[in-house]
């Protein structure tokens, strides 16, 4: 058997196992702590290098240290959106139950990342621009992204029937992901009309390695955090959705008897 076949078999096996709520629950009980631990290790290293080792920026002084939370969080806000929409598309096309759970559980996390990116961005903006808010292209697109997340969450909670809600949410997230690039370009063009805005200079064109290193650690750390938080929330959703099934009841009952 050649290695590609082995990898393919492994992937398709994982896909099918993750597609079943019960299998997902079993697997996630092992993977979730691993994600949590990876997040802790990576973000602690990143924090150490970011706050203690990296020298102060020659222009922005120590305020640039906001970058180590702001930039990863801003990246994640988009990353989560893409994951959410991809999962939504998978759910709609292949009718995969667990894909909808990914979509629905991602939305609040993505919204929180987006809100964080906005808040840290405007706090950082105060010393740099002299004001909390400027109609900068990136901040504005991020704000619109936040409203897209709100819309997606609102749709999910508007429907009484869970399956309808899941599919409607998935459809809206797919529609959103088509429009996000258009929003991005339109906002960029629009902000170029508003002259006089100082454009973010993130430590010059080339980032020195002592800044890049902690940023990379933090970025990967946040990615694992997303995995960790997503799995925690998906476990709850699965328990809630499948509360009438035998395996959930057995699981709860066993826990009770052990304690």
């Amino acid at each position: 058997m050649n290695p590609i076949t082995i990898i393919w078999n492994f992937l398709s096996n994982t896909y099918h196992r993750l597609g079943s709520p019960r299998e997902f629950y079993t697997i996630s009980r092992y993977t979730t702590p691993v994600f949590g631990a990876l997040f802790l290790v990576l973000s602690l290293i990143g924090t150490y290098f970011g706050l203690f080792v990296a020298p102060a920026d020659y222009q922005q002084g120590d305020s640039f240290r906001i970058l180590f939370v702001h930039v990863p969080v801003a990246w994640m806000s988009l990353f989560v959106y893409v994951v959410m929409a991809t999962a939504g598309a998978i759910g709609l096309i292949w009718r995969m139950k667990m894909a909808f759970v990914v979509t629905i559980c991602s939305a609040p996390i993505g919204a929180a990342f987006t809100a964080l990116a906005l808040m840290t961005g405007s706090i950082w903006g105060k010393p740099i621009w002299g004001t909390y808010w400027v109609w900068d292209a990136r901040l504005t697109s991020e704000l619109i992204l936040l409203f897209l997340y709100f819309g997606i969450m609102a749709v999910y909670y508007a429907f009484e029937d869970r399956k309808t809600a899941e599919k409607a949410t998935a459809l809206l997230s797919v529609v959103g992901v088509v429009i996000v690039p258009i929003i991005h370009y339109s906002v960029e063009w629009w902000s170029s009309l508003h002259q006089g805005v100082t454009v973010f200079a993130e430590g010059g064109p080339k980032m020195p390695p002592e800044m890049l290193l902690p940023l990379a650690f933090m970025a990967f750390g946040f990615m694992f955090f997303y995995g960790y938080a997503l799995f925690l929330s998906m476990q709850n959703k699965v328990l809630d959705n499948e509360r009438k099934s035998g395996w959930v009841r057995a699981l709860v009952n066993n826990k009770e008897q052990q304690s």
Partner: protein, 61 residues
Amino acid sequence: MNWSEFFYMGGYAFEVWTSWGLTLLVLLYFVIMPKQRNAKIKSQIQRQINREQRDQGKTDS
């Protein structure tokens, strides 16, 4: 390295620590909230099972 100097952050203490603090709060929320919810859902299901068992006992007798 001097700790008070570290917390002073070259005069940007407020900006840096609110940003990092807010991030930490949000991260904590997404860890603590699901864990609490998990316990809640499980106890709900447990109560449901207990109710059904009691109900069954009644109909049997």
